[in-house]
């Protein structure tokens, strides 16, 4: 199967790239922490894909999209929607919790974006929020699931402001609250924030999830509880944006 397009998603935390074939299947993938020198990093990643598979047009998305040498540059909203539509093939609501922002995108009957909502200027309720607080608690991302499963009850964390939540969490630790309960409270706080952004969901509409945070099973379960409906994590959720970018230049 020969390569037909490359897609690169330069996010605030990680840079993701995929190579797809004419059927939209992912042939190769690259995921790296984002480097401040976007031009160099994206050129290197794309060169390595070209070296492995040959040349193809490039679509770029994400915060650093304008710094990438690409044939087409589109926003994350459009790309996540395209990627999600290819994976799910049905209308619904897509939640993408990224490093710097959280998006809720409504997909229409033919996969078009009918509406979207994003968090405001600050990083409240984003992946960055989890990263900072978990870092403060010295909990590796991979252990969150096991930790939360052990929690007898959630310790409420009332703030989703990263700065305020950090000091709130420090005082909870000082009060002797169990770590697993605090982490569970943290996830609930984030889920409540996402739920508010999603607004009222029509009955029976599907909810999909993309973005790096979707890899966190505990987060997905918390979100399901708060939304009161199943949340379908798209295959390779972190790559959905890059996939959408690749699809936009597929000949």
């Amino acid at each position: 199967m020969s390569v037909c397009a490359f897609g690169i998603d330069v996010g605030s935390t990680t840079t993701k790239a995929v190579a797809i074939d004419a059927g939209g299947r992912i042939l190769e993938r690259r995921v790296e922490p984002s480097h401040p020198r976007i031009e160099e990093q994206s050129a290197r990643i794309l060169d390595s894909l070209r070296g492995a598979l040959g040349d193809a047009p490039v679509g770029a998305t994400g915060y650093g999209r304008k710094r990438v040498k690409a044939g087409r540059i589109l926003t994350e909203i459009t790309c996540h929607a395209r990627g999600a539509w290819t994976c799910a093939r049905r209308p619904g609501v897509l939640i993408d919790i990224g490093g710097q922002d959280t998006k809720v995108i409504r997909l229409g009957p033919s996969g078009e974006v009918t509406d979207f909502a994003m968090n405001e200027k600050c990083a409240a309720g984003t992946g960055r929020f989890l990263e900072v607080i978990l870092g403060r608690l010295q909990v590796p991302f991979s252990e969150v699931g096991d930790l939360v499963a052990k929690a007898a009850k959630a310790v409420p964390v009332s703030s989703t402001c990263t700065v305020f939540a950090e000091s709130e969490v420090i005082s909870l630790v000082a009060q002797g609250e169990p770590l697993e309960g605090i982490v569970r409270g943290l996830l609930q706080s984030l889920a409540a924030r996402v739920s508010a952004l999603a607004g009222s969901l029509p009955d029976g509409s599907s909810v999909f999830m993309s973005g790096g945070v979707a890899l966190n099973r505990a987060m997905v379960e918390t979100l399901q509880k708060v939304l009161g409906r199943p949340v379908e994590v798209l295959p390779e959720p972190q790559l959905v944006g890059a996939l959408g970018a690749a699809l936009s230049v597929r000949s």
Binding site: L74, T75, I77, T78, V113, M118, K121
Partner: protein, 438 residues
């Protein structure tokens, strides 16, 4: 007093215009030397030069107004006609704050008032204005000290506290016009309540100016205000043509005279000129942007410090703002003015300002604009500084999308303070909105 008056007359009628003409000429020379870059916009309106002259002359005259003529600082929604008939020179702090924002001075002025203990959550116009009063910093050189402060609550309640702070600072009288919020249409009792207050306000203004309000002059000013509102309305209506001969962003700037110099001959002369130019552009098929593919409605104030970026990124992709609820407000309310009953009709006009009416009315205005101007999308600017204008926009968005089937974007920003806006996220939203039309 006589010397000051002479200086003021000289600046506003002789030297001022000459200086402005020289400034305009030198600006143009500088511009023509620069290489013309590829622009997504149509040719610039010829009138822009006249507009600049008019507003510069106004601010230049203002530098010499205090001590020469009575000076009032007024809110944009204050019934200014009687003040004009009494010979007041009127300063519009809101217009001035917009000017500060365009010239990137808002953050600096805000820091002045924030140091004094005012909250950063206060309206950025109020912060710019109080900051200017405290620091005397202004891009227009100097604002004349007020003899009277005139404030009307038809645009928000913030103006009340803002003008109280000014009254304390300048130690001058404040007249307050309280307009009851209108659900549906105002009751006769509500209009009478406003009319009574107007009577008291006139008495105060007479005392300060040392003049009696002449019925003839009042009627003439009301006639001019009515004519001005109609002319401005006709200018806006040219946007109904496809392609529109100008953009809503042009409108944000060209509205300055109807806001700040309402009820004057020079304002109406200016709008006659603008209308003729717009009609000429329509007849020759000249468009506000190079290629108009989509037509948008804008709700709320502009993002003054980002007008260039937002308008350029829209124009580059063939999106034109063909109408805005904000510029429309100045055409709509004034049409109710009746020169035969200037004060009675002023009570009616100024009570029925868009921001003093309920959400159903807002929806009606947007629905009508979107339909009459054949818009296929809308941008609702959720303005951090203007809560009365931003409240209810989530409902408006849903209604516009479901009832008219148009695409609607809620854009979070601020009318003057760049610190309350995230460029990257704002641009992403705007770009995603435009991509969704494909």
């Amino acid at each position: 007093m006589i010397a000051r008056r002479l200086q003021y007359e000289l600046m506003s009628h002789a030297l001022g215009p000459a200086m402005v003409a020289y400034q305009t000429w030198s600006d143009e020379r500088r511009r023509s030397r620069r290489a013309a870059k590829e622009s997504p916009f149509g040719p610039q309106l010829e009138c822009t030069r006249k507009l600049k002259e008019l507003m510069t002359r106004h601010y230049l005259a203002g530098r010499y107004a205090d001590g020469a003529v009575p000076v009032a600082w007024v809110t944009s929604g204050f019934p200014v006609e009687f003040l004009r008939a009494l010979g007041f020179f009127c300063v519009y702090p809101e217009n001035h704050a917009a000017l500060c924002s365009v010239q990137r001075k808002s953050a600096e002025l805000s820091e002045v008032v924030e140091k004094e203990g005012y909250s950063r959550d206060l309206c950025s116009y109020a912060r710019s204005d109080i900051g200017c009063a405290l620091s005397l910093k202004t891009p227009v050189g100097r604002l004349p000290k007020p003899d009277l402060l005139a404030c009307c609550t038809n645009i928000c309640q913030t103006v009340l506290y803002w003008y109280r702070a000014l009254a304390e600072h300048f130690r001058v009288p404040l007249v307050l016009l309280d307009t009851p919020f209108v659900y549906g249409s105002a009751s006769p009792h509500q209009i009478q309540y406003v009319r009574d207050q107007l009577g008291e306000a006139v008495e105060t203004a007479e005392r300060i100016s040392g003049r009696k309000l002449s019925g003839e002059r009042m009627q003439r000013t009301a006639e001019l205000a009515l004519e001005g509102a109609n002319l401005w309305g006709q200018c806006l209506e040219q946007g109904r043509h496809s392609p529109s001969p100008w953009t809503g962003f042009d409108g944000f700037f060209h509205m300055a005279p109807i806001v700040s110099l309402r009820g004057s001959e020079e304002t109406n002369d200016y709008y006659r000129l603008l209308l003729a130019e717009l009609q000429d552009r329509v007849s020759r098929g000249i468009s506000g942007i190079r290629e108009e593919r989509h037509r948008l409605v804008w709700d709320n104030l502009p993002v003054w410090f980002k007008v260039r970026d937002i308008s350029t990124s829209l124009a580059q992709r063939g999106f034109n703002l063909v109408c805005t609820s904000y510029t429309n407000a100045w055409a709509e309310a004034g049409k109710r003015m009746d020169p035969q009953d200037p004060l009675g009709s002023a009570a009616r006009v100024y009570t029925h300002i868009i921001l003093n009416q309920d959400l159903n009315n807002r929806m009606e205005v947007l629905r009508r604009l979107a339909t009459e101007y054949r818009a296929d999308g809308a941008i609702l600017h959720s303005d951090r500084s203007c809560k009365p204008y931003s409240m209810g926009q989530v409902d408006l968005r849903e209604k516009l999308a479901s009832e008219l089937g148009i695409k609607v974007l809620l854009l979070e920003a601020d009318h003057a303070d760049p610190r309350a806006y995230s460029s990257e996220q704002g641009e992403t939203r705007l770009a995603a909105f435009m991509e969704s039309f494909a």
